[in-house]
Symmetry: D2
Subunit: 342 residues, 4 copies
């Protein structure tokens, strides 16, 4: 049994980790820390966990996370980078669900996140936890930078096109729509029910923190810097990301075959048949990414539709997928639940 | 492995049965029938099941359901009663998720359902599949009448009060609210998104078919006819029933202890601590019924709050609970998933 | 033209007052105050008002509200009671949308609201602003206590039964459901979109502040103290209250005729035909209360269904109705818009 | 007073026309026809209209529409083209909210709509009812082709860029999101509440009927055929369209000034300040189109955000705007209501 710790378990990423890990047959949850809620039974905050998670939140100071095999950080940005080194030195492996280790270029990270980075050397070591591109590295990693929700859906959607070298790399467009849980469980006016329901809006058009992350991932695959316009939107649903991707084709190709081949062995990427339109609810509560490929009117624009559950494949599920890989467990263990529909 | 058949798998009860049964370690799904969709892969209708349910809908005529150990009817009312006898005679056990076998008084059934009953003798034999009141009978039943969604939440909420004999049996009130999935997957104007969202209404106040079913169950426990006002409402959520129950107390009692004792050994009934307000989302996707007990201002009115997921404990989950009991499997097998929150 | 001031215009009651008053032909908005947002153009906070409300929020200290004919308080509880006297003495009439002047029994008010009242004499003078019961007094009032949202829907639903003296006054039940906007525009976790949508729950069952207000109103009509169980619920819609009322009949009566007669001359109370089920969306954005009367299975329980828009008839619309009455304007002026459906 | 008729008043476009026209001071509604609902009081179908629209639906055969000054067709496609000629010859002016007269190229229309056109000559005469481009022609038109909902939001968003000649006309992208009311009031499974809520999906990517309409409008302004990729999506809200438009800039320009100048005199187009993100709810129930202009990271891609209420500016409101223009009434009469927020 793996001994698992969770730092910062009071947000949606935290409760989703708990949902998955409490059903994982090879995991024992050692501690869930929260400075603010120390002492409170976890199930008092999240009634869905009554009878399933019997722990209380513990104070980070006394949680003895150093006794864990692996610690998940489900914290705001800028926390994990201060605690990673001592845990790693104690032999604990780390999966950070925040952004501290995602961007290799420290200057870029510091500009977008508005902080000085505490441990650039660990950024260099960290493995970007997207199994579809980094599976072997993940298996041997001490420190995983778990990808952001938008970057997961967008990169999985663009990879085959870019790997095949058949699109204009200067004018990629990612028009992405997210459920409101992506904004977290903080009390804020703009995500109140009465503000966010029966409403649709773009946000962060001048620049969103997931832009450099996506750009880094796609550029790496392309072998040179790519140009991307990324527009996120808030849509009145709890879970789900729908990325609509546009790319100008510069060469002919059987796009459907390209995607099917690329993802043939991926347990969590499902390439839909031609003409399909994936729905976010078709992956609700699951670790799947479903993708459909279109070329409207046979023109030179490829339209890729990519959907995920932002809290699962976009966060907690992918984190457990990484954990499974790191510890030699079956990759799909505890994250192979059938989506909840309707 | 149990060989299982499903008759009428194109509605919400059907897809929920498939979600649960496809993850059940002791079940092999033999056939899912649909007259209209015969030949269509199940996953084409329900994209959530892609890669998990590989069967196509089969024609009822050729599905050889007689080779199953158990057949679930997820059909409209009035279908199972015509097919039950021949299956039973062939040794197949039956769980009917519709209403055909729920009401013992044939005249009452015929009045509320507007049909002549095809097999009154089987109604007499059928066991009402509410494990919390009928567990032992269910274990040996050939034919289960799976309870309705409202009746499950309302009866579990009222049972302890009535068993204790401490309430006015003539003036019980059940004010119940249901998610829209309770109305099924039929194309109808009043359950369109643009009609049902951002809206709330009562319906069926003059009389709803679940009234005689609840009345029968409560009267049986009371040992005499009870008087109940039952008002169902449609609330803009997909899943969930919230029953708010009112009863006039006729004797003193420690209500909290009463409920905790009554349900101490029930795996799927969770009595909340005093002062709690259960939320429907705390049971989303799970087979749980959570109950809270109130006595506002210490007066003589008990207020019981009871929540379930109408598609799970109110339908498919309870059906699998019954199947597990009938075949000597662990009662919670495949229906012990943690609720999906948020 | 009436010169109108609004104190505390940053909540939902505030924006709704502005929506109505900006379209009122006899009103000129003199000032909208907000300590926190002073200087901010109102339309920057509420984009729906761009081009229609050109004012900025002003500091309460410099807003010269004493130059207004009437001032609306759209503030939290406990604010208006500190500012009312000086405005009244300056000849300004006041409509308080909070609870400061609603409860005549000061001790009861102080218990439920947890504050010492600043001006009990003004409570004695204040007129409870429910035109259907107090129209003549409202016309001559200096100070209006605008009713709460639940109390409006519940009282209008119960009045005819109680006035007729045909129900058991000791066991009235009001099961009420509210849209989330009733909880206001404060940043709180429990009203976040991801907490409140696809969910249903009761709250405040042990005691809600609207209980003493309803009890006072119904007792006044009954001529003696009534017994009421009041259970509010949160339902995932923005606007709307649906009150489901239960009363035991103690005498025969033509209930439909009773209601139709009682409300025959009321411009904002619509008694539906027998058998109807009012929907909250049928009053969305309007000042209407629609009511239907049921007596299920001809028994001795009356079930009354009463719907309003909590922000209009339950708050801002009723406030303008009171203003119209106070200043001799046509009662329906600016609040006779057709509801928005779908 | 204008005598107005409505053909086909049972859908969302119909009820929205009735909402607006019943509050129009210069209109008298002569008849609302419906073959299926003839005889039914309109308010029985749309409870929001109780007390405001006292008419019943009338049979088309006996409705004497020839006595009207203007007739609105709120019918499915392919109806108005069969009835237009005789009405026009009788001196009745026509506003068709369906697509019969929108596409000038008859072959294109017949391909996308799958019908033979009944009156190509009237298509030639018909004026496309987008006042922002055709105001003068509309004033003198007998027959108006009222624009589609997507085309209104997309064209208003693209016009200034195309008129200025500063974008690559071969690779325009319109990623559009619509509320579910855009799919109409037909009973269909895919727009059921339980299918459409908490879900997001694209549809019609291979080709949507609004594509040729948008292409025609933009090509006309461009003076040559433009290339457009148009991807519509269904988002879980009732009303609202959000168009996110992408264009490659081929020349420098002050985009903000360009839009502000272009729409300076338009009563229903609101250009937001730089950096803004319009929300669909900011136009809910109103005839406004709000537009924001972005150029992320100062690159060569312009991102235009354009929102409307699909039932108002995208249908019924624009139809009334056209009527006002045709009959010399103030253009904003009865369609200048403040949006409903929250």
């Amino acid at each position: 049994m793996l001994k698992v710790g969770i730092v910062g378990g009071t947000g949606y990423t935290g409760v989703e980790l708990l949902r998955i890990l409490s059903q994982h047959p090879e995991v024992s949850i050692h501690a869930i820390t929260s400075r603010n809620e120390a002492g409170l039974p976890v199930a008092d905050l999240f009634p869905s966990l009554r009878g399933r998670v019997l722990l209380a939140f513990s104070d980070p100071a006394t949680a003895s996370l150093d006794k864990c095999d692996v610690v998940f950080f489900a914290t705001p940005n800028g926390i994990a980078m201060h605690q990673a080194r001592s845990l790693l030195e104690g032999g604990v492996r780390i999966i950070d669900l925040a952004a501290d280790f995602r961007i290799k270029d420290i200057a870029v990270w510091e500009k977008w996140y508005g902080m000085t980075h505490a441990c650039p050397d660990l950024v260099a070591e960290a493995v970007y936890g997207l199994p579809e591109i980094n599976r072997e590295k993940i298996k041997h990693a001490r420190l995983i930078a778990n990808p952001g929700c938008y970057p997961t859906a967008v990169q999985l959607g663009f990879f085959p096109l870019i790997e095949a070298g058949i699109v204009d790399l200067d004018h990629l467009v990612a028009d992405a729509k997210s459920g409101v849980s992506g904004a977290g469980r903080k009390a804020e006016v703009h995500t109140l029910f009465s503000e966010a329901t029966d409403n649709f809006k773009a946000y962060g058009v001048p620049g969103h923190r997931h832009l450099p992350e996506i750009r880094q991932g796609l550029s790496q695959v392309a072998g040179k810097p790519i140009g991307l316009t990324f527009v996120p939107h808030l849509t009145p649903m709890i879970r789900g990301i729908h990325a609509t991707l546009y790319a100008q084709l510069t060469a002919g190709a059987d796009l459907q075959a390209l995607y099917e081949t690329r993802y043939a062995d991926e347990p969590f990427v499902d390439v839909l048949p031609p003409g399909a339109h994936p729905e976010t609810r078709s992956v609700r509560g699951s670790n799947l990414c479903r993708i459909a490929i279109h070329r409207p009117q046979g023109g030179d624009t490829a339209v890729i539709l990519s959907v995920t559950d932002n809290l699962v494949k976009g966060a907690a599920g992918q984190a457990v997928q990484n954990m499974n890989l790191m510890f030699g467990l079956p990759e799909t263990l505890a994250i192979d639940q059938v989506p909840l529909l309707p």
